[in-house]
């Protein structure tokens, strides 16, 4: 579960990125965060992953109060979170399999188990047999799938994705979203930042809307039209 309680974030240059945000994301829920550019979507995801710290308020992730989290415990928190980035952030000099295996190496998973999980993740994202390719040999959609495979390889209970379809055409965006829907079905909690309103409408999941750092709307899944 994720709990934001009166959370505000102001950057050192004075910009108010988030102002008095309060919401809860239940385990197994899929939440979209939307808003125009600069509304605070990325900052919200960064706060969940402890990349940024709030100036005010309390954030709880998996029952852990992030304000009390020691610096040395941050890596452990992040190992429980699968992160998907708009620009994939794949290591171009490594194979697809090596990219996906990286969080497993960090977690100290044995080699055989690593290979098994990498194969499983590749199958889940529809890239079975492409493990030896380099990311340069993949299309934009395939790269994003690899990014998702890397995020789910460690079997995190929470996945956060920042504009995962930002660089993709509508058809590929739809395919990527279907992957997230499949992950939700396995019980993962998923938070996705996206400004693609037509896509959000088709997904019919809970949406919170940000505007200049304020939470201006929280639309339940059944109310998304």
């Amino acid at each position: 579960m994720i709990r934001f309680d009166s959370v505000s974030k102001r950057y050192p240059e004075g910009r108010e990125a988030l102002i008095d945000l309060t919401f809860v994301v239940e385990p197994g829920e899929m939440l979209f965060v939307t808003g125009h550019s600069g509304a605070g979507k990325t900052t919200l995801l960064k706060l969940i992953a402890a990349i940024e710290r709030p100036n005010h308020g309390t954030i709880e992730v998996h029952g852990r109060n992030l304000a009390r989290l020691r610096r040395r415990d941050i890596p452990r928190l992040r190992r429980d979170i699968g992160m998907v980035f708009q620009d994939h952030r794949l290591l171009m000099d490594r194979s697809v399999a090596d990219n996906i295996a990286l969080p497993l190496v960090i977690a100290g998973i044995p080699r055989d188990e690593r290979a098994r999980r990498v194969r499983g993740a590749l199958e889940k994202v529809g890239l079975a047999g492409r493990g030896k390719d380099t990311p340069a040999a993949l299309s934009a959609g395939e790269k994003q799938r690899v990014g998702i495979a890397r995020a789910i390889a460690g079997r995190p209970s929470l996945i956060i994705a920042d504009e995962p379809t930002g660089n993709l055409d509508p058809q590929l965006s739809e395919e990527i979203m279907q992957l997230f829907t499949a992950l939700k079905a396995t019980g993962s909690t998923i938070v996705i930042a996206s400004h693609d309103l037509p896509l959000l409408k088709r997904m019919k999941q809970r949406v919170i809307v940000l505007d200049h750092g304020h939470l201006i709307d929280d639309v339940a899944a059944r109310e998304v039209a």
Partner: protein, 317 residues
Amino acid sequence: MNARASMASEVRHSRFGMWRRQHAWCLRDSLRQLARRPLGTALTIAVMGLALALPLAFYLLLANVQHLAGALGDSQAISVFLKSGQGAEQAATLAQGLRGRPDVGSVAVRTPQQGLAELAAIQGFGDAIQSVPDNPLPFVLLVDPSPGTDRAQVESLVKDVRAMPQVDLVQDNGQWRARLDALVELGRRIAVLLAVLLGAAAVLVIGNTVRLDIRGRAEEIAVQRLIGASATFVRRPYLYEGALYGLAAGILAVGLVLALEAVLAAPVRDLVASYAGRLHFGGLSWGTLVATLGIALVLGWLGAWIASSRHLARTTA
């Protein structure tokens, strides 16, 4: 073993396994990175290897000079050459007089015949001696100062002996020995200074190489941090890289010095033969060579540690 103890043992075992797997991966990653740029890696190793070989070669030279000094003995003996007119009786009287002094331990009289025989024994002098009609050598008194006599007391003894009317020349063996010891000490300090300076240079070379590598892999480091890598994990491949650079440079330095030894071995053997085996050219001990490898490894590791710490300090968690 109860269930709780068994579980604790399993956790410890699993932590060790995790630690071992992470180290194995980091070592493989470091080797992969080094293999990706063979020329750059070879140049860095060559620069550091030469930097380490120089003080090592100097140390080799110094060790042999020290050995030579040791072979020549550390006595402060004084050779007293009597005037040509002085015979055996005068020599014995003078020796007896010197034995009475508290700063004299022993006095031996060497006759001109003994001196000539000794000279003839030295390679190359035999024929020359044959051509001399009369023995031109004087009586010589070999004076050993009393044990515990310091340098100032020996110099005072030399001064007194020199003033004696029967004495032609006094050779103070301890004086040149003191000069040799001072030169060896100077050489030792230069070797230490050279080792420190070139060791620091090696640290800087490795530090700069690793810094450039870290800069080139900044995106990879950022991704690792985002997906849960600790600072220790991120730093580890670079530490291995530095240590591998250091180890390879140490092997090169040891190889160069062994080659130097091999090159010098033949001419030194000839020189030794000409001195009737009184000199000896020795190589560095295995202990020294292994210590060199260890020091080189630590220097490489240190350079990488400095470079990676600076980078990690600048980046946020």
